[in-house]
């Protein structure tokens, strides 16, 4: 079997369930792939690792990959899994912040220049808010959580399936996310990336890998709990089963947009990608020359054709 290393974007959490599930169910083995899953330290680091061929595939935030690619990193997305953005502004449910207007006069915790913070101005524009309507505090991921938990901030910018779970874990209280996607911001998020040269040299292997991954996602979608359990089986210290399950369940709706409803996973539309690139160029500090050829960043060529 071919040995393949997949590096995740972060330490394992609910979103990663399909990979573990696929491995546990022998879906990868069936395609002749011996999969090794590496935990990561952020999308940027994983992208660099893939570019440097330290890992074969990466599961990263695709916009982050685009920024690296435009700087010359030889990486390409061979499948975009989260076609809807999980970005949201969230606070404790009992604070009753449910609409953009509720943010007025509140304090928002952000991490400087992370993907959410970059899109944040667009969200404000779309919802008619101004920077002066609220206060901002900045810190790293941990600080953001702490700030909300301790009341130094009312909201934080985070992913629906990630930070909300952590806050709930820590405090037992529910969190209400205001999703950016609900306000007309269409942007892709995580996907599978690989080294461009590696893809050329191993076209068949990439095809098999994507095929297996597609099947793994489909299988996991149907059995969220079992999929989450597979994380713990491989990784006994990977978290609590409830949190992992809930986190994964929150991820599933992000797999498809209105256009790709009913399709198999990873079948991202060109329009969705172009829109993402345009948004990133305008708000996300992506170099303007990215607009010239959005297709350079991704390919659906290695995905299995619809059907099975």
């Amino acid at each position: 079997a071919d040995k393949v290393v997949l590096m995740l974007n972060w330490y394992v959490y609910g979103e990663h369930a399909p990979f573990y599930y696929g491995k546990a169910k022998g879906i990868y083995a069936a395609e002749g792939i011996e999969l090794e899953i590496q935990e990561g330290r952020g999308s940027a680091a994983t992208t660099q690792a893939v570019a440097a061929k330290t890992a074969d595939f990466g599961y990263v935030d695709v916009p982050t990959m685009m920024r690296a690619a435009i700087k010359g990193a030889p990486v390409v997305a061979t499948g975009v899994l989260l076609q809807t953005s999980p970005m949201s502004a969230m606070g404790f449910a009992d604070k009753n912040i449910r609409k953009p207007e509720d943010i007025k006069g509140k304090t928002v915790a952000i991490t400087p220049a992370d993907s959410m913070t970059q899109i944040w101005p667009l969200f404000l524009k779309k919802t008619g808010l101004k920077e002066s309507d609220f206060k901002t505090v900045a810190g790293d991921g941990q600080t953001k959580l702490n700030a909300v938990i301790n009341g130094q901030a009312d909201l934080l910018l985070g992913y629906v399936m990630d930070q909300s779970m952590k806050i709930k874990d820590a405090t037992g209280k529910d969190v209400y996310p205001i999703k950016f996607a609900d306000y007309g911001i269409n942007m892709v998020s995580s996907g599978i990336i690989a080294n461009a040269d590696y893809v050329k040299a191993n076209a068949d292997l990439v095809r098999r890998f994507m095929s297996a991954t597609t099947k793994a996602v489909e299988a996991a979608e149907k059995e969220p709990k079992a999929a989450a359990q597979s994380i713990l089986d491989a990784n006994p210290k990977g978290g609590k089963i409830d949190t992992l399950t809930q986190g994964f369940e929150l991820t599933i709706p992000l797999y498809r947009t209105a256009e790709t409803k009913g399709k198999r996973p990873f079948q991202v539309t060109d329009q969705n990608m172009t829109e993402t690139v345009n948004l990133l160029v305008e708000y996300g500090g992506l170099d303007a020359k990215a607009k010239e050829n959005p297709k350079a960043f991704y390919t659906n060529d290695y995905l299995p054709k619809s059907g099975s």
Binding site: E39, R41, A45, T54, L145, A170, G239
Partner: protein, 269 residues
């Protein structure tokens, strides 16, 4: 002239070798517990010591297993620091020209936070032990150099003359006079270095490793598993204390002649 009489029995008891580490641990736990109660620190900020102790009890085989890679990386990084730091210090102390070029370079490299450049190590050296060792080395290196330079430069020129007059070559003179004279200073550098090497190894694990205490810590931060995270911190701290103690013992063996090793108290009654 040592301590005043009345406290003698008590202080001797408190100083008995086997009592100290024990008392010390008890003290830490109590201070911890007290400050949690006193400042009303909620459990999602700092867990109660008992929870941490529980984790340490139930998870110790796993924690022990994870501490080996960290210990290994720390020790390697530390040894590299000593191995490179002392000769570099030798060169710096030996020549003003070397000093004026190499020293700023070192300082330059030191003020860069390792956590910011550590991801590059991972890119270059992968996820193995190497990035951790490098990270530990980079943190531990500088204190050794600075202290050793100070030690080498503080030597009495008359003593150097003494050895020179015996036609010792530069290196012999160095080994006979400068090096032993600098040993106390070097050891003080090594002591700082060894604790920083622990931090360096963990930082290395933060950015790229799937084993080690740093990994355990980062993962438990992710799942908000504070008792495990603090258990990892406790283990790190203990690792630092043990390595520091080992360096201290070696110092006692290597420089028995030094004033700090004489039996009397340094400050008089």
């Amino acid at each position: 002239m040592a301590e005043p009489k009345p406290q003698h029995a008590v202080s001797r008891m408190l100083n008995a070798a086997w009592v100290r580490p024990f008392l010390f641990l008890v003290f830490i736990v109590i201070a911890w517990d007290l400050s949690i109660r006193l400042f009303r620190i909620p459990a999602y900020q700092i867990p109660a010591p008992l929870d941490v102790v529980a984790v340490l009890r139930t998870e110790w085989p796993e924690l022990l297993r994870q501490s080996w890679p960290t210990t290994y990386a720390t020790v390697c990084g530390f040894l590299l620091s000593a191995l490179f730091g002392i000769p570099v210090a030798m060169l710096i102390a030996g020549s003003k020209t070397v000093e004026s070029y190499v020293y700023p370079l070192l300082v330059f490299s030191q003020s860069v936070p390792k956590i910011a450049i550590a991801p590059l190590f991972v890119v270059w050296f992968g996820f193995g032990i190497i990035p951790k060792v490098i990270s530990a080395f980079l943190l531990g290196f500088f204190p050794v150099v600075v202290s050793a330079v100070q030690g080498f430069k503080s030597v009495d020129p008359d003593m150097v003359d003494l050895a020179r007059a015996m036609q010792g070559n530069r290196f012999q003179v160095f080994c006979a006079v400068n090096l032993p004279h600098a040993l106390p200073a070097i050891f003080s550098g090594l002591k700082v270095s060894v604790t920083l090497a622990v931090v360096g190894a963990v930082v290395g694990e933060f950015v790229g490793s799937n084993s080690g205490i740093g990994y355990v810590m980062q993962r438990s931060i992710g799942t908000f598993d504070l008792p495990t995270m603090f258990a990892a911190l406790v283990i790190l701290a203990l690792l630092g204390v043990v390595l520091f103690w080992i360096v201290d013992r070696i110092e006692k063996l290597v420089i028995p002649w030094h004033v700090s090793q004489r039996e009397d108290v340094i400050f008089a009654a």
